[in-house]
Point group: C2
Chain length 118, copies 2
DNA sequence: TGAATATATGAATAACTGTTCATATATTCA
DNA sequence: TGAATATATGAACAGTTATTCATATATTCA
């Protein structure tokens, strides 16, 4: 798709093109939510947790052991993951089992992995 | 130094699992790279830039105008996007045109958008 | 050449984030 | 009951980050 090249000179703030972009851009709120979602993927501890849960549901203690980290650190991160609806949990006695919430997670991680391996 | 493994009742049943997970997990380096990639998606300014470039290539000045931000702020962010190979650029005289680097970006943003709209 | 323009970048700062530590809550079972 | 266990959470601290400001670099053109 070819496009006419616009020169950067004073007063292009109101060019048609810039106006179009401003109008077709998702709302500030959605863009913020989107950034917030990816923010959850932006920490290697949280990514590790997701990889672990990709295999099967697991309790907090086992996640911590698998990743060689403290229960507290994992619990804090699970909180973020849950808030962003990337994981869900179920309680069984004293134990809380976490699992992946939906399929977007696998796709997103997969695409990310493809990108960095290119 | 290896941390002491914390015991929980559930853990007794899953010790073998924990070992398996440790072995099938991607390397620390890859997990770190993956987190770093998503970190780039985790700021709404950078997401806005990607949305703008999704439409067509564009010079720094026009991106700044479209988003109503300073040239400096945009330039700093484009640097991050370029470092992570999410955008590429070409120079034409004084002007530098940026564009999306590959298709993973569209997929990742699309999946993210689907997730938050659910 | 020098003025004008487009972009890049270093430093500073305010805001944010992940982990640890201490402790709270919730559940089981003796 | 109370002890033991699993998880959650508030506060603090160290490290990171996005923007601004000032300025540098690069290019065009008169």
């Amino acid at each position: 798709m070819e496009r006419e090249i616009e020169r950067c000179e004073a007063n292009h703030e109101h060019t048609k093109f810039v106006e179009q972009i401003r109008q077709t851009m998702p709302s500030e709120e959605r863009l913020y939510d989107l950034a917030e979602l990816f923010q959850v993927f932006s920490d290697s501890t949280r990514i590790k947790i997701l990889f672990v849960l990709f295999r099967s549901e697991m309790c907090v203690c086992d996640i911590a052991n698998s990743l060689n980290m403290t229960q507290s650190a994992i619990s804090h991160q699970l909180r973020h993951l849950k808030q962003m609806r990337l994981v869900k949990n179920r309680k069984e006695g004293k134990t809380v089992f976490y699992s992946l919430a939906d399929d977007h997670i696998v796709t997103i991680l997969g695409q990310g992995m493809e990108h960095i391996l290119e």
